[in-house]
Amino acid sequence: MTAPRLARWLIRLAAPAGQAHELVGDLEEVHRRRAAGGPAAAWCATVADAFVIAVVASIERLRTRPRAATWVHVGDLRLGLRIMRREPIVTVTGTAALALGMGLLTVAVATVDTLLFSRLPFEGGDRFVLVSVLHEVERRPVRLTPDAYALIAARTTALEHLGAASQNLQNLTLPSGVVADAVAAGITPSSLRFLPYRPVRGRLLTSADAAPGAAPVVMIRDAFWQRAFGGADEALGATIEIGGIPRIIVGIMPDDFKFPSRPPDFWTPIGEGFLEGRGELPVNARLFGILAPGHSIESAQSQLAALSAQVTPVSEPGQPARLAAASVTDLGPQAPVMASAILLVAIAILAVVAANVANLVLARSYGRSRELAVRTALGASRARLIGQITVEVLVLCSVAAVLGALGGQAVLRQFNAMDDLPFWVDFTAGPRTLVLVIGGVLLATTIAGAWPAFRVTRRNLAGVLQSGGGYGEGVRFGRVAGASVVTQIAVSVVMLHGALVVADGVAKYAGRSLDLPANVLTTGLRFNTGVTAGGSLESPDFEQIERIASALPGVVAAGLTTALPRHSPPAAQVEVEPLPGEPARAPQPAPWAEVSPGYFGALGAHAVSGRLFADRDTRPNVHPVAIVNVPFVRTFLEGAYPVGRRFRTIDADGPGAWREIVGVVPDLGLSVGDPSLAAGYYVPFDPGAGAPRFIYLAARVTGDPLAHVAPLRQAVYQHDPTIVLTWPQPLEDVNGEDRAFFLWFSTALTGLGIVTLILALTGVYAMMALIVTRRTREIGIRIALGATSRRVAGTIVGRAAWQVALGGLAGGVLAVLSLDLRGVLVSRLPDGGPWTLPLVICLLVLAGLAATSFPLRRALRVRPSDAMRVE
């Protein structure tokens, strides 16, 4: 009875040289004895036995192996550098590809580090806990009744302190009288004692400052002090008007005090009455707590969860709320999943790149067969040769890692320069990044160095010398190398195609001319309801704002909207009422926006058909109307006369009311970039819909649009100091950041695709060059026997052509399939034109021809007499 095959295999794998046979014999003997107790039990026991023997034998082998210094020499590093200089194609291509992979890994690891391990960067920062108050079912933030906050403060013993903080944009009147927007923060003054920062001038806010009837005060940040007051001492005690309320400056805080999120320009006190059941918490303030000594977030969480049933949202009396505690820097349960995905993708890309480089190294190592054979003849062990090749690649990988890390740092600097980042977010490569990048170097070295080294030294190198064989004699590119070339060609086709599709989309998205006037100023209107002394939730008077803007000198027309051109608002499912005798049409998506009567005038648009909105359309309880754009007429009405026709939207609650089309306007870029969403419609602006919408103002002006920002801000401020103008910019710059991002993304993708393609084709070149050299003698004989150049070329190019064709085909299929995945990342981009895939294939063929032409020319120039001398 023989021992289980798995057990024998384990023993053969790990047994000391020459002893496997006897060990298997012993195993079988013991197995036979065990078989009496049942075959299944014997099988398990013998396999376990073999496993232990294999592990112990392996450990013993490792323990007694020759010291590493005998197979890795410092001289190999010098040799590695020399070879990098001698073979510039391998060096440049390999380094560029690996540097890209390493750069990507650096950025990915630093991002993951930031996502998962950010902490508040001050002493005691880890004690800060965010207390979420959410709707029990819908999980949206809600406000509680005042007594509920008092209950939380009193019962949550895991929290030593409960406070509130807010942050938003507010209007500020500088001493010069100019109105500017500033990042405003609110904080409960008693929370300041847990923040280890002291004023550089003046004093901190106190609880007395937040008491009802107290004089309004403010603390400003050092940078703002320098900017607005030139660092003058007179700033202390001076008054600045914030959101219409004059406040006395009582303290100047150092620049490194940035609580609660984005570095604020100033801090105002939040009344603390809500903690005792008096007064209200401002609308946009969030609760936070300080963990008591000996307590954890989990204990705070369990106490808050227990209180959930006893607190009630102010908007839903009688309903429970959901209380939860989380670290201030916690990005939610999705963060680890996202981080793992980012890391895995980066490692996968590095592994693919390293596999590509492995092919180059393999071809190069075969080319050095003679050198390796001579070294073997002089007594070098296989381990020594493997060590040498691996160290050479380690040098390459290390250089690439340095370049990649530098590039990654540059990208991370761009990340850090982004606006609106919380102060604790720092995309800087730290020690964890360094460790993982070193891991990446080792991974890449193993794939690109150790694997080819094992492969090339597996051959009988002494035989190379004995047979007098020349360069590459007896070499075969195996299936793995062939598959690797095919894979990298396929990957490069996918990447290049993706890059071209994105580039095409960017061109359509960013470069599309909307035929709109150049002198239009646009701005967001932010309503700080709830942060003023009154904490009002009333809607601002939109119509009045439109009138104020229109009346400003230099303003030709002004209007309000919920989505500016290029904003690509969400689409609704639209069903057009069929004419009598017409079949009903299936609903289709169409983006839409609310606009005031002045909006089309502000964009200089006229009705192509019918009329524009009038004031009467915005009044309550009137017949619902809509204006559609020209693509809507084409898509939904097949070009039929639209005015008077009706359509309705269909959502989860069923169909809405019918809307009558009263006019048609040109395509004003409601949804730029995606031709399938070009058809859209406008409905009258609803002034009573409340504040929590994004409202934009568009004003057609004379001269430079930006010159009108200050007067507009001033006029709006005088009407309502709580309304802040956000992102004032010319119409042509709207969504400029998105467009810049797409451009960057497309450039990066193109770069990666081109590098991958070059790498793949360098692999083809290396393989072809080696094949020609190996078969020089055969080619010579065939030419001597009268073979035509075409036949010889066919033999030589055959394999490479197959690989390029197979890679191109696989890449083409994957490229088409991956278009669906693209929507995950850049949903707003259109499909690429029909030319992209053929263009990529043409590029591939051209590049393939270039890679094969040089070796082919060499093959066709072989003279029989030279070929015979090769041996």
Partner: protein, 110 residues
């Protein structure tokens, strides 16, 4: 002649090899012998590693025996204790004996 210092398990393996004798001592029989005499469960992997070490120290030598008399029977690696091995065992015994002297009253139960 200076002899190697023996570990406890090395000593047990040497003693078992001597007991079994030249043509019958191999890893399985040595493991069985130690288990039978000491009542201690041991894994054969430990015996293989110890035999390898003892061979490296020159205390034992091994040779391949005849194939086992069965279909596909494989040869055993037989163990022979070298004179150096015997000397090491002797030295270990003397050391133990000297250490034992005078400990009887302490170790024996009253």
């Amino acid at each position: 002649m200076e002899t190697s210092t023996l570990g406890e398990f090395e000593l047990l393996v040497l003693l078992a090899s001597l007991r079994i004798g030249g043509d019958e001592a191999y890893a399985v029989s040595i493991a069985d012998e130690i288990e039978a005499r000491t009542g201690r469960h041991l894994h054969r992997a430990a015996v293989y590693v110890t035999l390898q070490r003892l061979e490296k120290k020159g205390l034992i030598s091994t040779r391949l025996g005849e194939p086992r008399p069965e279909r596909g029977g494989k040869a055993r690696r037989l163990v022979h204790v070298e004179p150096a091995g015997r000397a090491a065992v002797r030295q270990a015994r003397h050391a133990f004996q000297r250490m034992w002297v005078g400990l009887g009253p302490i170790l024996e139960p009253r």
